[in-house]
């Protein structure tokens, strides 16, 4: 199969996912309304009780964490979409077509990347409204957004794997709330890690959600207390550490996801 035809097929599948979102915008609620609620909740309710050691605006500190959490949760959309495609027989229909099996995954992934821009843009706007500002240069800021894109690409593979292993959108939500939700909280997402006790602090220091949050704060020139208060290598080099995680996640989950998809789409 020629690469051009493959890309064409994937793009047809991607357009289908984009149409789904247009017809059913509530599918994006998790990725849009929820982070906005978190911004408002932490900026106005809890934020007053949290001080950023070394000074600086808590709201500016908050946005890096919110971005990171939004990116991590980006894997749920594609997972839910895939479970739906499996149970409605859409995958079977695609498989009786003269297209590559993986074009279905490729198309979903392209759509997920494009759809992923929506919550990031929305968070940026919400941030600006509550007082977040970018204090760095254009290149640093673009680097921040590029880092989000890279980590999002990694999370899409996690989503594909979940979509192949789990049987229903409910199961995806179950994993979301018992698995990934705590991971995004045991990090510097909402509070500086040096406020955490013992083991939790170590976990948070090496949690890629912390390094992603920290790297984004750094890129945008927002207050990030972590670097100064911890010797952990992960926090001294948050961008590199985050990218290493992204590469590792892709290296592990992509082959597993392709295999799992082969199994659910196979015989």
């Amino acid at each position: 199969m020629s690469p051009r035809r493959y890309v064409g097929d994937a793009w047809v599948i991607a357009r289908r996912s984009l149409k789904h979102i247009r017809r059913q915008p509530e599918m994006l609620t998790d990725a849009t309304i929820q982070p906005i609620m978190f911004v408002l909740l932490f900026a106005y309710v809890f934020g007053g009780a949290i001080s950023v050691p070394g000074g600086g605006s808590y709201r500016e500190f908050l946005l890096g964490g919110i971005f990171a959490q939004t990116i991590v949760f980006g894997c749920f959309g594609i997972a839910v979409g895939l479970t739906a495609d499996r149970s409605t027989g859409a995958i079977d229909r695609f498989r009786t077509l003269p297209i590559s099996r993986s074009a279905v995954l490729g198309g979903r992934a392209i759509a997920a990347v494009l759809i992923g821009f929506v919550p990031v843009a929305l968070m940026s706007i919400t941030g600006l409204v509550v007082g977040w500002r970018i204090h760095s240069g254009v290149l640093d800021a673009l680097g921040g957004y590029a880092l989000m894109l890279g980590f999002q690409f990694a999370m899409i593979w996690v989503g594909i794997l979940m979509g192949c292993l789990l049987d229903s959108p409910q199961a995806v939500q179950g994993v979301a709330f018992t698995g990934l939700f705590p991971v995004t909280f045991l990090a510097s997402t909402f509070v500086p890690v040096n406020t955490l006790p013992g083991v939790l602090r170590t976990f948070a220091e090496w949690n890629p959600v912390t390094s992603l949050s920290g790297a984004l704060r750094h890129q945008f020139g927002n207050p990030d207390v972590v670097a100064g208060s911890s010797d952990a290598w992960s926090l001294q080099h948050p961008a590199v550490y985050t990218l290493l995680w992204a590469v590792a996640i892709v290296a592990i989950t992509a082959p597993l996801a392709v295999r799992a998809f082969g199994r659910v789409a196979g015989d």
């Binding site: 149409k19 499996r86 149970s87 498989r95 659910v264």
Partner: protein
């Protein structure tokens, strides 16, 4: 290339196992070009598993399949280019309009955007969906979804059509509408393999019927041949006064010239006949002469259950119940869907 050009589908010794359950236990099949073959059997007989192997969706554990001369194991894409497959649950995309569904499939068949659009318009017209074409398919009725599903299988003008239980779950009116559409397709000379639980459907649409049970073909022939094997039509009588049931059974047997039985529910007398309306009139006359009052007197074709009882010694309902109890779910299916 394998197989003569006039053979559209040829399967030899097909076997498929799921764990320790054998869903298809050695099926041979030959479908001539331009013919319609029905695979008739209860839930769990292995019909869907068989169709999935014929359509490249599932690899057989044993045996070979060629479709229009291409081997499904080695030339799957060539097969996919030439077939249309409508799964048991109409797999239309509920969030796309009918037109978008067809255009998308046309594009994935590499017709190109423009030809895909033209083809969609033609098919919507052909399946009486023009008016509904720009509404999302999720709002369609059951019958409309099936028609759209059928239209979707025809996007690339396939040489062979596979329809898995095309009318299961439809109300009688929608079923009739779909049969009319299928009649047109059959008349146009399409090669079709369909599966069904309804003898009536197989009889109406198919030249050749394969009766399957437990993953094996237990009988094959035209509807007429199969019915002859099990005694053609039946006369069914319900008498008002149950006290005269035994007397009525004797009268019905004598008039029909065959042994009448009381059906297991104990309220109807059933007798096989080749005599059609004349035999029914004779039965009616005999009962009237004896003064036995009748609530119901009807001539009807044998049901699938009766075909089954005759061919296998067990009823189709039993077969389905056993299949449901077993680990009969094929991988790759969503939750709650039984592999049939």
């Amino acid at each position: 290339m394998t197989g003569a050009p006039d053979v559209a589908i040829r399967a030899r010794g097909l076997v498929k196992r799921f764990g320790d359950m054998t869903a298809v236990a050695g099926i041979d099949l030959e479908v001539a070009r331009g013919s319609v073959t029905a695979v008739l059997g209860p839930n769990g007989a292995g019909k869907t598993t068989m169709v999935r192997m014929l359509t490249t969706l599932s690899d057989p554990d044993e045996g070979t399949v060629s479709v229009v001369g291409f081997d499904v194991a080695t030339d799957a894409n060539e097969v996919r280019r030439r077939i249309g497959y409508a799964a048991q649950d109409a797999t239309v995309d509920e969030l796309l309009t009918g037109r978008e569904n067809l255009v998308m499939l046309g594009e994935l068949h590499h017709l190109g955007r423009r030809r895909a659009k033209e083809r969609a318009t033609v098919l919507l017209e052909q399946f009486s969906l023009t008016e509904a074409g720009d509404r999302v398919a999720g709002k369609y009725s059951g019958g409309m979804r099936r028609r759209l599903d059928l239209a979707a299988t025809l996007v690339a003008t396939p040489e062979v059509l596979f329809l898995d239980e095309p009318t299961t779950g439809l109300d009688p009116r929608a079923r009739n509408e779909l049969w009319e559409v299928l009649d047109t397709l059959v008349a146009s000379g399409a090669t079709i393999l369909l599966t069904t639980q309804y003898l009536e459907e197989a009889e109406r649409l198919a030249d050749d019927i394969l009766v399957v049970d437990h993953g094996r073909v237990i009988a094959q022939g035209s509807a007429r041949e199969l019915k002859r094997r099990i005694g053609g039509e039946q006369i069914r009588v319900i008498v008002r006064d149950r006290a005269r049931l035994d007397e009525a059974v004797r009268l019905v047997s004598a008039a029909a010239g065959a042994e009448a039985l009381v059906d297991p529910d104990g309220d109807a007398i059933v007798v096989a006949t080749d005599g059609g309306a004349a035999a029914m009139a004779a039965v009616g006359g005999a009962l009237a002469d004896a003064g036995v009052e009748v609530d119901e007197l009807a001539l009807r074709p044998p049901t699938l259950d009766e075909v089954f009882l005759e061919l296998t010694g067990h009823s189709a309902a039993d077969a389905a119940a056993r299949a449901d109890a077993g680990p009969g779910r094929g991988p790759g299916r969503g939750p709650g869907e039984a592999a049939a």
